[in-house]
């Protein structure tokens, strides 16, 4: 099925989730990302990529997000690990 309407913010969220900067969306709880959480994730991504830490999806950040890259996440989040451990148990 075609994706929902494009939106810069949701594209950014998708990218940040995919590479471990934001916890993945949880359809069971419908948890929303907070503005602060998003900004923190963008800063972390910018720090990792060696960009100026603005906390915003600025031009440099968007350009960096478009650079071809490895599929594996940059950050293996504690939440992700906890979830896996819980699942295993």
């Amino acid at each position: 099925a075609p994706a929902p309407a494009p939106d810069l913010y949701s594209r950014g969220m998708d990218w940040l989730s995919r590479y471990g900067y934001l916890p993945p969306p949880d359809p069971r709880t419908g948890r929303l990302q907070t503005k602060e959480g998003m900004e923190r994730a963008i800063r972390q991504m910018q720090r990792f990529a060696g960009l100026e830490e603005t906390g915003k999806l600025d031009e440099d950040t968007l350009r960096q997000m478009s650079v071809p890259r490895c599929s594996l996440p940059d950050i293996v989040g504690t939440e992700d690990m906890l979830r896996k451990r819980r699942k295993k148990r």
Partner: protein
């Protein structure tokens, strides 16, 4: 450096290549194997690691199994076509998939080519083998384990790991400063050189500035197989169904859509036909029908075959917008301030317009009556009207919403920065400074 938290319990590892590039790369199988050999070698030089090519009968049981895959390939990390994600590898462990290294077969894998002329297999392979040996992504510069593609590294026979990566691999597998892996038997220490002259099939590289895409004014926009194509002049940009732009740089229309005439520098409208998924291009008073990316024999043909006449009886000489409305499956063509509806069917390649058409484009309330182009997109089949650098969305099936606010095409589709408000604008709030 960052370690994944697992490593191989032995230092003698076997590797095998289960498949080779099939789609776009011109590298031979021998060449690929040699490049991969050298990419592994950089990790065994100065460590206790040793790599042996597994013989064919035990290729499946090698620790590091290499393959070229595309899109979904049953490991939870689908590839996404050219650009985007290039490759991945699985960390060491007991699972069957541990150590497996996958390259996206939809990349144009190259060796020794100039930066920008493909994706350098050696650079990516060194990075992925780092994962297969137990290294995570590093933010250090320089490090081959930075997650972003870094381009060719020069002479691959002389390449050595940056200090960050060397320390990481020596932490996992120990130091052995005296050992350098010899090249595989039958090969000299030098890799075969690539031809100096460009191949005859080499494509022209477009290089318009980013302003081109940020300024809007697209000639045509089309939803083709769920991807959205933005055509402007001789170039196009492509947005995948996930919403990501394949590249900030455009592609030349004629390099991808094969069969358009030389000198094609403007597309009026494009749409994907519902009945057979053929793609129809309108340029001036002619139209072309494509099967995938190649034009069908017998085209172009004259637009007059579509039977479109204006309300004052003139034959339509140009189409400005075309789309299939997901809401009802009909095809709509716009020209001037009028539009025609078609009920396409498998029996007639070009059916006559439906009765009672043309109608006035002003029936579509709140949107430009002479749009640059229109698409139907999204799960709900909303209609997107594009004009200059803005777009308007009419919710599924609707033609007369109360309020339709224009949005920025540059910002929402082309990954351009939000325009800075003009300081002369009456809408810019005044900022007062108080020095009290």
């Amino acid at each position: 450096y960052a370690l994944a938290g697992s490593s191989w319990e032995k230092t003698h590892l076997r590797w095998s290549v289960l498949s080779y590039p099939r789609l776009y790369s011109s590298l031979s199988q021998d060449h690929v194997k040699l490049i991969l050999f050298y990419a592994l070698k950089v990790w065994s030089d100065n460590t206790n690691l040793q790599f042996d090519a597994a013989s064919e009968d035990v290729a499946d049981s090698a620790e590091i199994r290499i393959s070229f895959e595309h899109s979904l390939h049953d490991d939870g990390y689908p590839f996404d076509g050219k650009g985007g994600t290039l490759a991945h590898a699985f960390f060491p462990g007991q699972a069957d998939i541990s150590g497996d290294t996958h390259f996206d077969d939809e990349e144009t894998w190259t060796y020794g080519a100039r930066d920008g002329e493909g994706t350098d297999l050696f650079t990516v392979a060194v990075h992925e083998f780092g994962h297969a040996l137990g290294l995570s992504h590093s933010s250090t510069n320089p490090s081959i384990m930075r997650p972003y593609y870094q381009g060719p590294v020069g002479d691959i026979t002389k390449y050595t790991l940056p200090m960050d990566d060397l320390q990481a691999i020596q932490t996992l597998y120990g130091i052995n400063v005296n050992r350098a892996t010899p090249p595989p038997s039958g090969h000299s220490t030098r890799l075969p050189e690539l031809p100096k002259n460009p191949s005859p099939t080499r494509t022209t590289q477009p290089n318009p500035g980013h302003q081109d895409r940020c300024e809007g004014g697209f000639d045509a926009v089309a939803n083709i197989r769920g991807d959205v194509f933005f055509f402007k002049g001789p170039y196009f940009w492509r947005i995948e169904r996930s919403g990501s732009l394949v590249s900030l740089n455009p592609a030349l229309i004629r390099n991808f859509w094969i069969g358009l005439p030389p000198g094609t520098d403007k597309i009026d409208a494009v749409y994907e036909r519902k009945t057979d998924s053929r793609i129809i291009f309108f340029i001036g008073s002619k139209y072309w029908v494509f099967k995938d990316t190649r034009v069908l024999p017998g085209y172009p043909r004259h637009l007059s075959e579509w039977g479109m006449r204006t309300r004052d009886g003139r034959v339509v000489e140009q189409v400005e917008a075309a789309f299939v409305w997901a809401h009802n499956g009909h095809t709509y063509l716009f020209s001037g301030e009028e539009f025609w509806r078609f009920t396409e069917n498998e029996a007639q390649t070009v059916p006559p317009p439906d009765a009672d058409y043309p109608r006035s484009a002003s029936l579509w309330k709140g949107v430009p009556s002479v749009p640059d182009d229109i698409i139907s997109w999204g799960k709900a089949g909303d209609t997107y009207f594009f004009k200059d650098n803005s777009y308007w969305v009419l919710k599924s099936g609707g033609m007369d919403q109360d309020k339709v606010n224009p949005k920025s095409t540059a910002r929402d589709w082309m990954f351009c920065p939000t325009p800075t408000p003009d300081i002369q604008s009456p809408f810019t709030p005044h900022i007062c400074k108080c020095n009290c």
